[in-house]
């Protein structure tokens, strides 16, 4: 039996200043992302068969990885923590991570078809990998719409936490779909049991891009979490 928290915002701690939601991490993220873009554009070799369009590789997979496995993964973990402990900080973090993860997945879903047009000759195909990823995008969008539709904070947190946990099987399905089904989408060339199938310069740029995207995710989630705290205090104000 969990103790019912009388005030929604009291459990979240003091309200941060709404004047500026960002801190030093957004500067670090901008520096990292711009630095990686410069390295990818001017200091990483062009792939001979695909041409310069292959440089989409340094934004599409890192965005998908951070969106799905970090953004939605931490959303699901925080939702589980909320259902277990009824800690409203976990609910606020789940909302923040889910929203930021959706932005990363949106970038992946837009840059993927641009790359696909050059290597497959088509913007989109309804194969298992692409379709299930689009379905995950709609699922998390529904999670955010649900949160906006329920006014009671406790009901909102409980219902949305269950929905967030339902995204977990789909995340694993998306990752393994390229092994189980015939799909146009290539198999992993870095996250696989054997050594990555990339020249060292490209692999270094790719790993740096992943690090830069993780820093960007941290900066955006920190700001979005502060916004959730400010909103909770405004909602509870008499």
């Amino acid at each position: 039996m969990h103790a019912r928290i009388p005030s929604h915002s009291r459990a979240l701690g003091p309200a941060p200043s709404p004047l500026w939601p960002y801190d030093w991490s957004i500067g670090l993220a901008a520096f990292a992302v711009i630095g990686v873009a410069i390295r990818a554009i001017w200091f990483t070799p062009i792939e001979a068969r695909q041409g310069p369009a292959q440089k989409i590789f340094y934004v599409h997979p890192p965005s998908a990885f951070v969106g799905i496995w970090i953004g939605f993964g931490l959303m699901a973990i925080a939702s589980g923590v909320y259902l277990w402990l009824r800690d409203e900080r976990a609910d606020a973090f789940a909302e923040s991570s889910g929203e930021v993860g959706l932005v990363f997945l949106t970038v992946a879903l837009i840059t993927g078809p641009i790359w696909g047009k050059t290597v497959w000759g088509t913007w989109w195909t309804w194969d298992v990998r692409l379709t299930s990823t689009l379905f995950l995008w709609f699922l998390v969008s529904g999670y955010l719409v649900l949160r906006g539709a329920i006014e009671d904070p406790e009901l909102r947190a409980r219902y949305s936490a269950v929905l967030a946990l339902l995204s977990v099987p789909l995340m694993f399905f998306i990752h393994f779909s390229v092994y189980f089904f015939r799909t146009l989408h290539p198999m992993p060339i870095v996250a696989k049991p054997s050594a990555p199938s990339l020249p060292p310069e490209m692999l270094t740029t790719f790993l740096l891009a992943c690090v830069a995207m993780i820093i960007l995710y941290i900066a955006l989630v920190r700001a979005r979490y502060r916004l959730a705290l400010v909103r909770a205090h405004v909602e509870d104000a008499p």
Partner: protein, 36 residues
Amino acid sequence: MIPDNAIYFEVAYAAAAIIYGAYAVSIWWRAARFRR
């Protein structure tokens, strides 16, 4: 011969920059609404 398709990665990078930048601004904008 290397294909001449740099426009695709330029558009992809620009789209990513616009989406991430717009989202960062949206957080600031929503916080500013609470300030008002």
